[in-house]
Subunit: 202 residues, 4 copies
DNA sequence: CATGAATGAGGGTTCATTCAT
DNA sequence: AATGAATGAACCCTCATTCAT
């Protein structure tokens, strides 16, 4: 270890802190409505000072989303590589999603709200790539489930995909970490509704 | 009929057209990212000309949302006043919601994306009022359903409320009117998933 | 007399009315702060309609000021041509000025407030011409008065000119026609102060 | 003394410079006709840069007028608190006024031209307050003077108040600091006219 | 690392003016 | 004569960004 490493680690931490602050403000006010000055206020510095740490407001957004998606895919890939049955896969994906919402609430909220406009930009092409992988993972799981009679035969798979996807991620808009339900508990209840429905079985 | 009535009707139509155009652009690009010039471009006029018809960009947004909510509540009130059982009420509310998404897709999308920031403003306090009524209508329907054993006894009613609410309205982000499914058809499939779940019954 | 003359007279009257309205608004709110729309509102018509009667906002201002100055000079020329002594000339000019304030209060107020900026424009060069004649008339009267020992020998004539000029015209800013003092009465009191001062003579 | 004090002093100076520039342009062109860009041009910067120092064009105007009135009242209060006779008070007030015109020519000119419209606004209510105090100070001085036989018994005190007030302040429209007459010299001549009149005493 | 001051590109809005009806 | 709708230039202001200190 050289003497510069602790300094480098401190710098990394500062970046992380600042990104966290930025993510919170982006999530709460919307990316466009968030001024660089507001972020700086929350961080206790002046707007110009942020440019020592980051190239631009957009690069902060990019880093926030990239970090989130990298971690999300670490979790998803572990699930998808585990060779589970379709129902278990779906359960694991949903649970993993709620865990990500718990850890990256702000990033998820930003993603939900802004990704549709952002994908059009070259710089955020990685969002489209992620969406394609996401769709493929879910669709194949659902199709496998229908084929293996784990899921109902009459499902419109694309519609169901959108149903489950939205249903899970929109939760980021109201979820508050540290609330009375753990992510796993919320996942369990969501899965119960999605899998078995809310109606009483006759 | 006086001679001025056709002119007044024409003026109303023009307003309506312009609001439709504005709603589309707001929905597609986001309210903040939409410049008045973009709206004017879409309408084939200059930015300043819009101010002959409207007081401000914000007043356009307000009128779009007010018109949508007024119509929505016309439909909802009819359902709620019909004294249906809880399951039928839920079915009717969901179906009505998809009809509104069909008729006011842009307004619904705007509502979904912007209402959280907007309610903080005095001018958009009517959104909060609508949300309260909305929540009350759904919660009471769900509670009634649990009491009457139409819905499962183990439901977390608040969680279920959010689940169903989001599930329905998020559809506005991908729904395209004139597609292959009618709103009623989509409502039917959503209801099938929400009520009976996607898993095969053993 | 042809049949068109009454119509022409009516048109002249309408112009006069509109100019009177415009002058009032200009005087009250300032020329720049007065929008064409405000004038039209006061006249009970739409902004565009004014352009049937006048070429531009500026041409309204010009006509208001020209009409006022024409009448003012009619009065002044009568006084100056009457071959009075310097003190009597001064008294007559001041009295005439208060009569003009009474008749053209709005125009005088506009003149006071705006002429300094306006003279720079070609179109309003007539204001400069009027100011030159004005200055000449007053200076020569004062100089004559000093020479003939009607006015004090120690007067700084230019300073006195500005003193008397401002003192009189500024009255337009608070004068209200139809108040308790007639213009002649106000003139008398002003003259008493200007000629004899406000201090008690020992 | 800390190290930050010189910086704070420099910032104060910059504000002062900019306000001086703005006041000059406001005085010359009128508040409404003055664009923020023109001020910035005179200050050698871009329009947007002014907003680093000031909240708005209006706040610049407010600060200019407040600063002027604060200083004016410092001077007036000293005079009024000195327990002079009415004639000496009047002389001192007039002299003080010309000194203020000398120091704040631009602000006085702006005040003269704009205050009538401005008082209507909440933000400029302090102008009305100042006017009330001003009127009270002058009226009581004049009344005292009449009672103590320093001023003529036949004065219409309100009319005289307006006469003197206008007489003094209008001078700001032509006065140029650094000209051949000092403010005290001009005050002396004005007082001579106001107190003793311009006519020869018989 | 952070500040203070400035840049420059837009953004929402106003308004005198035009013109077909 | 007057209306209704539109134009286009300009205006005040915001904000991401830069940079010397």
């Amino acid at each position: 270890m050289t003497a510069t490493e602790p300094a480098a680690a401190a710098a990394r931490d500062r970046r992380g802190e600042l990104l966290g602050t930025a993510a919170e403000v982006f999530a709460e006010q919307g990316y466009n409505a968030t001024t660089v000055r507001k972020i700086a206020d929350h961080a206790g510095m002046l707007a110009g000072s942020l440019y020592y740490h980051f190239d631009s407001k957009e690069s902060m957004l990019e880093e926030i989303l990239r970090t989130f998606l990298d971690e999300l895919w670490d979790g998803y890939d572990a699930v998808l590589g585990a060779a589970l049955g379709p129902r278990e896969t779906l359960e694991a994906l949903v649970t993993e999603s709620f865990r990500e919402i718990d850890r990256h609430r702000a990033a998820v909220a930003i993603y939900q709200k802004e990704s549709k406009q952002l994908v059009a930009q070259e710089r955020f092409a990685f969002l489209a790539e992620s969406q394609r992988r996401f769709e493929k993972a879910w669709l194949s799981t659902l199709e496998r489930g229908v084929a293996e009679r784990a899921f109902r035969a009459d499902l419109d798979v694309r519609l169901t995909y959108r149903f489950v996807r939205d249903t899970v991620w929109v939760a980021a808009s109201w979820y508050r970490p540290g609330g009375q339900h753990s992510p796993e508990e919320i996942a369990r209840q969501y899965l119960s509704m999605v899998l078995d429905g809310i109606a009483v079985r006759e």
